[in-house]
Symmetry: C2
């Protein structure tokens, strides 16, 4: 049995807020041992002072970009799929201009795994419970329409189960062996957080078997670009190949 | 509040089984108005007789493939990312050789939206409840490690919310506007189904606002390849470009 509920009573977060304590106040009397808290990265960023003044959102995206994966022009702008500092591939490098004051943008947390560790440590100590924390962000996907929430930070919870070596009922090795449970938890939490907008934290209950103090952070969910069959957009790769093919004749 | 629980009491499904009635027997007394059932595509395929004898799994994959997106050799084989008949891009076209008898493979349902419609219709009539049904499959992703469950069939439930035109608290249009709630529901259900393996059906409760008898099926979650910035793998696109570049010099 999995249950997910949002914490109400969390007011607008501003720079310098003690987010862990604020979440703790909202969670008072509502947590159980083994719970996982899914925290929207936006409130982590706000508390950490990641709102910057930026008249030019495009420049902010450029500044946050480690590597351009693909671009496509649309009427009035350019969609940029990029790898950001965290290794995460998505549109606009996580630079968010919605729900921020005019002339400002919100960047992703500097180190969402560290942010998750602080929240977990404070709440575990306060309530005397084993807890996990996931920091979530919303990403588009290749091949599929729409967006889903994924885990960009994690502490105390396994986000990528390694079932390699497991066998099925016939004794053969399982083909699908790395369930991205961190992303699935983020997705489940989004269903609840989104339903009642303005609720940045959800409690995910019933997944206590995934708690592990020694689990690595959410970076393990990021495929290194050199291993990725889609490290460049189709058009970008085609044009690189075209140039190479033309040069090969010289 | 979202809650998800698996239905127990569903025995091994074989070709010709009346899956809707079997699920109904397992769900007797456990469903509420507004529930969404997430059904693993594997049991739908088995009931529909989609297990075929195939000494050569590779040939079965070829037969199910509409379009090759990318391939990569590994020691002992080739990973093929392909578009299957349903438009879904994934490894091995959904051809499953785990948990099937030696010498057989399991293909995806012919029309998972239709399968979902039958299950929903039978269960809605039997229990007198408004229900949604989602058929799930497990897919890898570009850029991210591991796999998550997604919706490959749906009936009676919105799988792609269209929030375009919505505005944030500052009155600006929301940038992320198409939450893929069908995939998020599939992911939430997977957390429960996977935890206790052998449970192919989960009930997702608390998402009744997504029920809509006129909602389109899961095909709306598939991005048409001509719109996709990642319609070909990087290496494949590069080589196509290279050949074109060389030819341009001739």
């Amino acid at each position: 049995m999995l249950s997910v509920f949002a914490l109400d009573g969390i007011a607008e977060i501003v720079s310098g807020d003690d987010l862990a304590s604020i979440i703790g106040d909202a969670a008072e009397g509502r947590l159980q041992d083994g719970d996982i808290l899914a925290v929207t990265s936006k409130v982590v960023s706000k508390a950490e002072g990641r709102m910057i003044s930026a008249l030019d959102r495009e420049q902010a995206i450029t500044d946050e970009t480690v590597r351009v994966v693909a671009t496509r022009a649309y009427p009035g702008g350019v969609t940029r799929i990029v790898e950001n500092r965290l290794g995460v591939v998505g549109a606009a490098a996580g630079v968010d201009a919605s729900n921020t004051p005019h002339g400002t943008v919100l960047l992703l947390p500097v180190d969402p795994d560290a942010s998750a560790r602080v929240i977990r440590s404070v709440l575990s100590a306060r309530f005397g419970l084993r807890l996990g924390v996931i920091i979530t962000d919303t990403l588009g996907r290749a091949w599929r329409e729409g967006q889903t929430d994924v885990a960009i930070g994690a502490s105390g919870v396994v986000v990528l189960e390694d079932l390699r070596g497991s066998t099925d009922a016939q004794g053969r090795s399982l083909e699908v062996t790395l369930p991205a449970v961190g992303d699935e938890i983020a997705a489940a939490a989004d269903l609840v957080k989104r339903k009642a907008s303005g609720l940045p934290v959800a409690v995910v209950r019933g997944m206590g078997h995934l708690l592990d103090e020694a689990a690595p952070g959410a970076r393990v969910l990021v495929r290194p670009s050199e291993k990725d069959m889609f490290r460049l957009g189709t058009d970008e790769a085609w044009h690189q190949g075209f140039d190479a093919g033309r040069a090969a004749r010289d």
